[in-house]
Amino acid sequence: MKARAFSYFRARTIDEALDAAARSGDEARFIAGGQSLVPALALRLQAPRLLIDINHIDDLSGVTREGEWLRIGALTRHCQMLTEPLIAQFAPLLRAAAPYVAHPAIRNRGTLGGSVALADPASEFPAVVLALGAEMEIAGPAGRRRVGADEFFVDLFETALAPGELLVAVHVPLFRANQRIAFDELARRRGDYALVGCGMIATVEQDLIADIRVALFSVGNVPTRARSVEAALAGACLDADRIAAAQAALDGDLAPDDSDDVPAAMRLHLARVLLGRLLGSLLGRLGETA
């Protein structure tokens, strides 16, 4: 499979990229790591007339602390989630998820912005961003805006990004000492898309879970907050009964479809198992100092 012919433009600034996109209407696509777009081009699932290369825009790179937020440039590569000290310190859930994202060669090129903007419901980072309550910084013809993760993921491969808009950065609330994270997924092979995956971040006060955000992936059209689970856990003391209650609550949060190899009931079962295991691991770490 060979891609249809397209034009190529290397943008140096965000404005250049936005201008190029505006001139081309919906015939253009931004390309960063290209780990999803290039296969789609080769398979002719997409055939844009113009590729706007944003890899050389300095303003899209870098990880910086801005007050109570960590600003992660959209071009931050997946592999940097494993190496950036600021991410280890202030966004450890991203770091925890990174080893599960595909394989090293893909992590070297793939970008956080690309993964979040594509919003593949089976990908790790969109769900992590959702669990973290991150905010997406978007640049467009009308200027900059920030959209919270709960509003960002709209439907299958559909986000709050309008045509011609560019995801510039992901802002993550700084990780605090009284927070605990857990992440895991069930994949047939290491690096595959998971049958189900889950990331969570809990805020702990004494032995109570003051607040918890739980997001699952590979369970529907979008990365999914498990709000019933969160409600079942918030303000509670975590124990075996509470974990069982949270697992039972999951049925109210998820409505996966049957796929040809994974029946919906099985996916729901796996999600319950995974949730139970993650909460079990959280239970063992509640008393730890961060």
């Binding site: 002719r44 069930l186 047939r188 040809d260 190899d261 994974v262």
Partner: protein, 791 residues
Amino acid sequence: MSAPLTSLDRPNSYIGRAVPRPNAKRLLAGRGRYVTDIRLPRMLHAAFLRSSHAHARIISIDAEAARALPGVHLVATGPDLAKICTPWTGTLDHFKGMTSEPQLPLPLERVVWAGQAVVAVVAESRALAEDALELISVDYEELPAVVDLDAARQSGAERVNPAVGSNICFRAQLDSGGVDDAFASALHVIEQDFSFGRHTPVTLEPRAIIADYESESGMLTVHHATQTPYQFQDLYSRHYGIPEARVRVIAPDIGGSFGMKLHVYHEDMAVVGLSMLLGRPVKYVADRIESFVSDIHARDHQVKARMAVDAAGKILAMDVHDVTAIGAFSTYPRTSVVEGNQVIRLIGAPYDFKSYRAALEVVFQNKVQTSQYRAVGHPIACAVTERMVDLAAARVGLDPLAMRANNVIADDAYPTASPTGYKFEALSHQACLERLRRLMDYDALRAEQAELRRRGIHRGIGIATFVEITNPSPAFYGVGGARISSQDGATLSLTPSGEVRCAISVTEQGQGTEAIISQIVADQLGVAQEHVKILTGDTEVTPHGGATWACRGAGIGGETALQAARQLKANILEIAGLILQEQPAALDIVDGQVVGKATQKPRLSVAEIARISYFRSDTLPPGTQAQLTVSHHFAPQGYPFAFTNGIQGCYLEVDVDTGFVKLLKHYVVEDCGRIINPMLVDEQLRGGVVQGLGAALFEECRYGETGQLLNGSLADYLVPMAMEMPDIVIDHVETPTADTILGAKGCGEAGTAAASACVLNAVNDALTTFGASINAIPITPARVLKALNRY
């Protein structure tokens, strides 16, 4: 303390030595030259429009816009190629009653599977050819697709070929007699149904071909990623009416084949015709998406089995029924029924019992063709047999290893035959079984399993004994009328500087054929291995031969090389005798030097003999004609097949909440006769085991109700990857065949033959405490959870 000297301590003793493959570094450095790497002057590129329907009538094809696209040189449909290519039919005479429709490169009226090539475009580049494909529209009248195996067998079912009365391709039966009596008298009768999913070989290098027809000379050169260049020389010659001597097939570096690259593919045949129509080289490389819907698939069997066992656990009889679906055509020229045929003939093969009955039914479907793929039929026969043995052991109350020890054919019982008529020269089941017991530390493993089970960790141990068919004689294809050679040929030359050049008809696909041939030649001639150059894979260079399939490279190719090397050595020593005034029988060659046999003292170098013979023949006695090139052919005689045997063990853990299976360790004890290169044999076994483990846990071509392949990409079709593979521990028993001087049998399929059976038994062993049972492959989390009633 140093080890005692062995025959391997002699100079040039390469047989039995773990020497690296000479081509490994070159390939690793990216210096391989695959068909994809070849660019010929004026070369064009083909792409194919494929059917979106599993079964449909072609009403019309509109390709005007594609033809008008600049850079497009040809758009061809079925009738264009039918004018120059004669049809082929995938049947063989010795499969009595077998039928299959004639095939052409591109269909004339009907498409019979989703993904079948319908229209060919040839253009300046592959991308341009694909642009043109988007401009072609085909008007189809959709026909009912035959997808479900049971439905396909019903009378009155929709038919793959509406012109014939049923979807049955072939039926066969075996009956040794006495089966009903044995079952009637048996204390235990075990019955079980089995299901084996379709899978596909997934070679690292896809299919690739460049056909280059020169109309001026009438010469066709085909650069072809194939295992069997001579087979294709014959086919291209006969179907396109080109004299055989004007067809040259070159198989350069090949990135894996596993049986997939010896079948006729419609695109490949088409590309030859496209080159003839254009008088220019035409290249076609199947991309991965195309490979999934056009490379052969394999397996896809439903088996019903019964086993009769007496009170002591002795197997008395087996009765099996195998139904297999093969796609819309039987493949050419080897057919699609060999797998089923081997399933019913290999079931029960390791065991000593007399009464056996089997029925085989081969059914057409609107799917990709199935055919020979690594360990043809073996994994199914082995899984059925070995699961039945485990079920019987449980019924009788015997440990699985003890059950096998009680029933395998005794090592001192040879020669003997299986109840299906396979003749066994000498196998070593008992020795292998004892070796495996020690290799696994079986009793300790069982104790560990029991201890962990008390802690809620569910591990399983699986055992599978196997027999493998290698080194086939003409009984395999020749008697059926196929022009597929069971012999091989080699031409050996001493070069003027005293090195050796060996052109041999067996081929190299990454398994090390060239390495072992150079070991054998160097060993037999008495020269250093680095002074032996091996040439393979070119019909213009090597003598005619069967090439590489059915584990015949070492046993038949190796013996060919051995005998050729002995002849060349005799010729060299004859000249040496004349020069040295010695009897040739008193001389030998060691490390490139002619030595006195008694003294082992160097007398004259082989290089000097070459120099004299080639440049100073005037100094040789009058009438001497030095013969420093010999050509030699070898065809297997004696036993129709060189059977090998072995046993595998598997240790794994089942996560009973998720249904995931974690492979912990795999064990193989194998007897392939004389081992030429232990490292390469172990690599073959490990690679084969991994393919079997893929079949056991991951690989399956899943189809939807309308006959669409649902998982035709490497994202969805799961091949085994390194992270999920266990350590594979290997040991050997060596029982050389007496049919050849070399004594080697085959080893390439042994790993695949039994690995999936082992896993099946191990998973069931782990699930014993739950009363759950799985008898389908692949063993997916869905199947495990279903067996455990977890959702």
